[in-house]
């Protein structure tokens, strides 16, 4: 086996493990910039996986998708988020409502839940159980981050991780959708992040803080 084939096969086999590790580290992270960089690492793992799959299955479209994921999700979005964080300059870390240890326990529980949930579908559809479980775990962790972190920017990151999970599930089950649709989805995601950034600044300017747990004026 050539070195590239070897690397591709090993990447495909071990990307699920890297995704689990990023999920756990993201749950334990105490600073927003750490979370953003872990998101970038997660997207880099996904890019590597798409590249490996493109090489193994000889699919030209997958190379384009990998390039798009890299440019949009590994470079553009983390760069934008880090810039927003720096300009916001709000102290206080991640403002989690659970300690890092509790978050890691919950994330571990979510990983196990993910394995449980995908069992029937893996058997019925003859898929790679580990990758699908990794996708579901990423999705659930994104939801957990959105719920347990009180900073507005952390909710954005949670949302992005959730979308990452859905994208990964699409990748595992269908080897990607038609190219135009994928490009449309990425474009949407980029605009969404930009708009959310605009709104985070608006929240800071009108409320003088970015704690979304204190956005409780409208109730009932």
């Amino acid at each position: 086996m050539g070195l590239v084939e070897f690397a591709a096969a090993k990447t495909l086999a071990s990307s699920a493990v890297f995704l689990f590790i990023t999920v756990l580290l993201m749950a334990a992270a105490k600073r927003t910039s750490t979370c953003i960089m872990l998101f970038g690492v997660q997207c880099a793992v996904i890019t590597a996986q798409i590249l490996a799959a493109a090489f193994v299955y000889h699919s030209r479209e997958a190379y384009v998708v990998a390039a798009m994921v890299f440019v949009v999700k590994v470079l553009a979005i983390p760069y934008a988020l880090l810039g927003i964080r720096k300009r916001l300059n709000v102290p206080g870390g991640v403002s989690a409502s659970t300690t890092p240890a509790q978050s890691v326990y919950i994330a571990a529980g979510l990983i196990l839940l993910a394995f449980l949930v995908v069992q029937p579908y893996v058997r019925a559809l003859a898929l790679d159980g580990e990758m699908l479980a990794a996708a579901t775990a990423v999705l659930l962790t994104g939801a957990f981050l959105m719920v347990s972190r009180k900073k507005a920017l952390m909710q954005v990151i949670g949302l992005l991780v959730l979308e990452n999970g859905i994208f990964l599930a699409a990748l595992t089950t269908t080897f990607g959708m038609p190219l135009v649709i994928e490009m449309g989805i990425f474009f949407d995601l980029l605009i969404c992040v930009l708009l959310l950034g605009v709104f985070v600044f608006r929240i800071r300017d009108t409320f003088e803080h970015v704690d979304v747990s204190k956005l409780r004026r409208l109730r009932g």
Partner: protein
């Protein structure tokens, strides 16, 4: 022949321990833009201490003299379980990884007793802090080793190492990845490095291990310091042997052993550099955050054990 190599392994672990300590200290000094002491300095320190007199407080019992000896003996015995050059250890058939962990626990227990026996308030304070850290660190350590041993179908450390070295290159399984991270976190706690404990501090607020040995002097202190260095060497060698076993000689040939020795030296130097970088870049955690740190390690090791069932 195998016995000679096993004995050589123990000698290496025990003998190069101060060198490792010196290396870490020197790299840290370089990072802090100082020249730093020579890497052979700890040997000079040990020789100096062995030639000095043992000053014992009037209120101490014979336990005060005995503890360092028991501590040293237990640590060396634990070192005899860890294979570094080939897949066998001196005491490899005498017990499994649980015995290893409890030998280390025995050593720590007597250190705590000795510290309390010295009669100073620093000793008591250090002892209580150390007891907290070690209680919390024991579970993740055992669970991480349990996870790895389930996958390797063997409970002896040497057996685990033999299994690991037989795996294809870069085979990354979730069990091993999680156990690796958990073990690293616990190793930091067990050996008393930053962010759990600073090995060169003497401030009351931040001492754990140093507080316990404040009363000791002369040969007793030499034994304790040496045992501490052996423990660091042991934990790092265990990390290398179980999770990164590339280069371990499969058969007892001179050629294979030479490669194994070179590989081991390279890996230990690499780990020393990484440890020095880690210690220089992270701040020490305050005491009430230490349970959280170890809680993360515990969660990861529990997940590693659960994964052994999921992978089947």
């Amino acid at each position: 022949m195998t016995f000679a190599i096993d004995f050589l392994q123990v000698l290496i672990l025990v003998g190069t321990a101060p060198l490792l300590r010196g290396l870490v200290g020197r790299i840290k000094a370089r990072i802090q833009n100082r020249r730093g002491a020579s890497v052979w300095r700890p040997y000079a320190d040990l020789r100096k201490l062995f030639s000095k007199e043992d000053l014992i407080s009037a209120t101490a019992s014979p336990l005060f003299r005995l503890s360092p000896m028991i501590l040293f003996a237990a640590t060396v015995a634990a070192a005899a379980f860890v294979p570094t050059l080939h897949g066998f250890a001196l005491l490899g058939t005498a017990g499994d990884f649980i015995v290893l962990v409890y030998l280390l626990a025995l050593a720590r227990f007597f250190l705590i007793l000795g510290a309390m026996d010295g009669g100073s308030s620093f000793g008591g304070m250090g002892a209580s802090r150390e007891a907290l850290v070690s209680t919390l660190a024991e579970a993740p350590l055992l669970l991480a080793l349990v996870a790895v041993s389930i996958v390797a179908h063997s409970t002896s450390v040497a057996g685990i190492v033999r299994w690991s070295s037989g795996q294809p290159f870069f085979h990354l399984s979730p069990v091993h990845a999680l156990a690796f991270v958990a073990f690293t976190l616990v190793a930091i706690a067990e050996t008393g490095r930053v962010p759990i404990d600073n090995p060169i501090t003497h401030l009351e607020l931040t001492m754990i291990h140093e507080a316990m040995v404040l009363e000791y002097s002369g040969p007793s202190l030499a034994l304790i310091e040496w045992a501490n260095a052996i423990k660091l060497n042991l934990m790092l060698s265990l990390l290398v042997a179980v999770f990164m076993p590339w280069g371990i000689a499969p058969a007892t040939s001179l050629h294979g052993l030479a490669i194994a020795l070179a590989a081991y030296a390279l890996k230990m130097v690499l780990l020393a550099v990484l440890l020095a970088v880690l210690e220089s870049s992270v701040a020490k955690l305050r005491m009430y955050l230490v349970p959280d740190f170890l809680g993360v390690a515990c969660a990861l090791s529990i997940l590693a054990v659960v994964f052994t069932a999921l992978k089947r």
